[in-house]
């Protein structure tokens, strides 16, 4: 084991998969030279050359279309979109093309595309560079949506995503890029579609994704002082959603809080809440509470009021405990 930053874990995954499979290539803006805006692809150009590391014009629709067309022919593109907010610029290619190609053509095509994009606030990057849009993509059949919270998961999930034969929207969190964590020296994969119990607890389940996993863990530590033992589940993959891990935990705890950074209204927390109450209403000792951002764009200057945090999660947990 060794300590690695989240961004380096991603870079490692790319390096390893490119070394393993000649069909894997990387495409995006500035992905050569300095390795993209956040240096996730640093070193790839030196290692694999211009053929497999493709710097493009600023044309996100062309980037995604390129990936789709190449993947349909059997290549395994990893496309980078510099900020998740820019996925809007190529939304047709992602949703009407990439997600539907296989179905629309009756299974004729297989599309092993990974689209990497960093989302999330926390860097004062303003309303057009800070959004968390996973709920949109989770609503689109044909896509898988992945959202790692730790370096370990980032590396293992990215490798699995590259090997997966389906289009994957791989949502990194830019405020986590510098965060550190242990990863094994030997190769490993983290399977898609499996949530991870990041902390075992018996009193309440907290389901979280991406950066909110860390806030949930902080909250859990705090709650523990008051004798409340929260089980923290890191979704890791949004679709396919790991219903089982969630159900199993809630069966034990009978209480659920869901936390994500995206706007609370119509976010993924709604689906998880609805799903759990649908299936196990009588099991619940309290309403499912959701923690998410308020219904406002991400302000440049007021992020500290905007971002949901450990305190909010702890407060929600206390409310369900006291219910």
């Amino acid at each position: 084991m060794r300590e690695t930053r989240y961004i380096r874990a991603i870079a490692e995954a790319l390096h390893e998969e490119m070394a393993r499979d000649e069909d894997v290539f990387v495409v995006g803006e500035d992905v050569g030279g300095p390795g993209g805006a956040f240096s996730a692809t640093k070193g790839l150009m030196e290692a694999y050359g211009e053929r497999r590391v493709r710097d493009t014009p600023i044309s996100e629709s062309a980037i995604i279309g390129l990936a789709i067309g190449a993947a349909a022919e059997g290549l395994r593109p990893v496309a980078e979109v510099m900020f998740a907010d820019f996925l809007t610029v190529c939304m047709d290619q992602l949703v009407n093309q990439m997600a539907k190609t296989r179905y629309m053509f009756g299974g004729m095509y297989t599309l092993p595309v990974v689209v990497r994009a960093p989302g999330g606030a926390g860097l004062n990057a303003g309303p057009q560079h800070s959004q968390s849009l996973e709920a949109w993509f989770a609503h689109v059949p044909g896509l898988k949506v992945v959202s790692p919270a730790t370096p370990y998961d980032a590396k293992g999930l990215l490798k699995s995503s590259i090997r997966d034969d389906n289009p994957v929207i791989f949502l990194e969190h830019k405020a986590l890029y510098g965060s550190k964590g242990e990863i094994p020296d030997e190769e490993y994969l983290v399977p898609l579609g499996k949530a991870d119990v990041k902390r075992i607890g018996k009193d309440v389940t907290v389901v979280a994704a991406s950066r909110m996993v860390h806030e949930a863990l902080d909250a859990a530590k705090d709650l523990s002082k008051d004798g409340i033992e929260a089980e923290v589940i890191d979704l890791r993959t949004i679709t396919p959603l790991d219903r089982e891990t969630i159900f199993t935990s809630v069966e034990k705890t009978s209480r659920l809080v869901v936390a994500h950074e995206a706007v609370k209204a119509f976010g993924i927390g709604a689906e998880i809440s609805a799903m759990v109450t649908e299936e196990m209403l009588d099991h619940l000792d309290a309403p499912v509470l959701r923690v998410g951002a308020p219904f406002v764009p991400v302000p440049f200057n007021l992020e500290r009021y905007y971002l949901p945090n450990a305190r909010d999660i702890a407060a929600a947990v206390r409310r369900v405990m006291e219910y």
């Binding site: 014009p57 390129l66 990936a67 290549l75 047709d92 296989r102 629309m104 053509f105 009756g106 389906n166």
Partner: protein, 318 residues
């Protein structure tokens, strides 16, 4: 020069495309086909001219008005027809319908319901050929209207930059749905836009199949030789409405009649007759053969079962 065999093949393709689409208009009007369909009657010279110089391994990306493009590329008529009927034996198990027909074997990568949506994907297809050093070319069809979408710009720019083996074929029928070209763009020749990308652009009379063929051959040659993409604009005429059933209130009956004088088939037949490549009897024989082909395809399609409900859930993920 196009040899006699090839001349006859061009004729065959054009007549076949015309008759198939006439048949589609017919059966659609009888309510046998669900959804809506777009036909390119009058535009056959473009598909035939371009696709006839492609090999099986070459790939075409077609449009919502793409029956001709797919047929000229050699897609199997039976399964084509079954797809339009939405039946299980269609190329896409009936999930696609007229607007999204594809066939891997025939090198028909599939048509798109999003105007301009296929362009970036075609670039990706050509990229794969270059990446793997495959000897093949990608042709991407699109309309005059589509040349105003942002994807047109991004796709041609990238293809030119990377010198990809692709031909962008603009089937300019002068209309985007109900609106004539002059209303929605200032330029007359869309091929002019090639210069924005450092690409070669050519405009041809798209109702003259031999001219289309000639320029298409050059473009394909350039692409395969690593000399990069071409924007080939073929000016043609849409005889019918935007979709089958369109009352075309936006043009006069005279205009609708007028365009028929550009008939690319009659024009080509005249050429072939004058040059004694064919005689009337040959033409009759050809028509008869195509008629039977189509009847067979209709029977195939109509006998093909409707996909079962379970099919709803397949093919979402690999």
């Amino acid at each position: 020069m196009v040899n006699k065999e090839e001349l006859l093949r061009l004729l065959y393709l054009m007549v076949k495309v015309r008759r198939v689409e006439e048949c589609l208009v017919d059966i659609f009007s009888q309510g046998k086909i669900p959804g809506f369909i777009h036909v390119g009657i009058g535009q056959e010279a473009v598909s035939a001219g371009v696709c006839s110089c492609l090999r099986e391994r070459d790939v075409v990306f077609t449009t919502h008005r793409g029956h001709g493009q797919a047929l000229a590329k050699g897609i199997d008529l039976n399964r084509f027809m079954a797809e339009i009927y939405g039946r299980r034996d269609g190329f896409c198990k009936g999930k696609a319908g007229s607007m999204h027909i594809a066939s891997r074997e025939a090198g028909v990568a599939g048509s798109n319901g999003i105007v301009g949506g296929g362009l970036p994907i075609a670039v990706g297809n050509a990229f794969a050929a270059q990446y793997r050093n495959e000897d093949r070319v990608t042709v991407c069809f699109f309309g005059d209207g589509a040349s105003n979408e942002g994807t047109f710009h991004e796709s041609l720019n990238l293809a030119a930059l990377w010198n990809l083996p692709v031909v962008f074929c603009c089937e300019n029928n002068g209309w985007a749905q109900f609106t004539p070209q002059k209303v929605y763009m200032k330029l007359q020749n869309i091929s002019k836009r090639a210069e924005s990308y450092g690409m070669i652009g050519v405009t041809v009379d798209g109702d003259d199949v031999l001219m289309v063929r000639e320029e298409a051959e050059k473009a394909v040659e350039r692409a395969i030789r690593g000399m990069g993409p071409t924007l080939l604009e073929c000016k043609t005429h849409r005889w019918l409405g935007h979709y089958v059933g369109d009352p075309q209130k936006y043009r006069t009956t005279e205009e609708v009649e007028e365009v028929r004088k550009f008939d690319p088939i009659i024009r080509f037949q005249k050429y072939l007759l004058e040059n004694k490549h064919v005689d009337r009897q040959y033409l009759d024989g050809l028509e008869a053969g195509i008629k039977m082909e189509i009847e067979e395809a209709l029977a195939f399609a109509e006998n093909s079962p409707i996909a079962p409900a379970e099919e709803l859930f397949t093919d979402v993920y690999a």
